[in-house]
């Protein structure tokens, strides 16, 4: 699965998510990725989210919408994504990750899998990571 979230100079947010599914999945099976509220969600009043991970788990908790709701309730982008993934793990024992941008340009990313490749750009700075806690800073 791949995904992106962004906020532009007018304060508009957007998200996109795309996937090929799982090897040898049942024909017709659909995970979270194409479904609004699970694989992605955005609202100019709050921010944008794109999710990845175990599709059925993410579907059950509407992960993207949950993160947006937590942010609307006062969590930062980072707090929101961490809290929602912890909740998903507790409720349905699912793992995954998500990237977030708030309508103010605040960034968030978290995962409870072994790895997640991510990268972010703001104010000309590139940040990236792969392993838990890892954050590289620099140019391409």
């Amino acid at each position: 699965t791949v995904g992106a979230v962004a906020v532009d100079s007018n304060g508009n947010v957007a998200c996109a998510t795309s996937t090929g599914g799982i090897t040898a999945k049942m024909a017709g099976r659909v995970g979270d990725s194409p479904l609004i509220g699970s694989g992605g969600y955005c609202d100019n009043d709050v921010g944008a989210v794109s999710c990845t991970g175990h599709g059925e788990s993410i579907l059950k908790v509407c992960l993207a919408r949950h993160i947006i709701q937590l942010m609307a309730d006062g969590h930062t982008a980072q707090q929101g994504v961490e809290a929602a993934l912890t909740s998903m793990s507790r409720k349905v024992q699912g793992t995954g990750g998500a990237v977030v941008v708030s309508n103010k340009g605040e960034l968030g990313m978290h995962f409870n899998t072994e790895r997640m490749a991510w990268a972010a750009m703001r104010n000309g700075d590139l940040k990236w990571g792969l392993n838990p806690g890892e954050e590289g800073i620099g140019v391409l």
Binding site: T1, A14, D32, M121
Partner: protein, 169 residues
């Protein structure tokens, strides 16, 4: 307002042989999207362009690099959404489309619907001038090997995959 973009390339047990390519690709996608934002482009254009770049990279299973289902076929899913009007579009179980996120955007912009599935999505793609590509374009040798291994040792591999968190989208 300072524009910003964040990219992911999937959360799972990324093997070492894909790690470097995955990180490089998400960096490139972030830069591509950021260039659009810096040029005054919209967040919608930025996320679409970034995801297209990743769909075209065989290190990921979206688009080129797709995995095979139990019937040995490709089924792709994608969505896109913008936060001003909550306009959204998605496609699922679409076959032989190189960039499903592009098709999702056409669903958002050119239909009254949010999600099209299967043959309906493919028929809509054709109506929008998006050509289907041969499955060989989308599926890598690695994807084929993984599918053959899975089908040959299905029960055993299923257990191993679960332990390795590889049963993720």
């Amino acid at each position: 307002m300072l524009p910003a973009i964040v990219i992911h390339g999937g959360a799972w047990a990324i093997p070492d042989n894909l790690a470097e390519a995955s990180v490089l690709a998400v960096k490139e996608a972030a830069q591509r999207g950021y260039e659009i934002l810096q040029g005054g482009g919209s967040a919608l254009d930025a996320v679409e362009a970034a995801v297209i770049l990743l769909e075209d990279n065989p290190a990921f299973d979206a688009g080129t690099g797709a995995v095979l289902n139990e019937d040995g076929e490709v089924e792709l899913d994608a969505m896109i959404m913008e936060g001003k009007s909550l306009a959204a579009g998605g496609v699922c179980c679409v076959k032989n489309i190189k960039n499903p996120v592009q098709l999702a955007r056409l669903v958002m912009e050119n239909t009254d619907h949010v999600l099209l599935s299967g043959q309906g999505a493919n028929t809509f793609a054709k109506s929008q001038g998006i050509e289907e590509v041969p499955v060989e374009i989308l599926v890598t040798e690695e994807s084929k090997r993984e599918w053959e291994t899975y089908m040959q040792f299905r029960k055993t591999v299923k257990v191993l995959f679960r332990e390795r968190q590889s049963d993720h989208d």
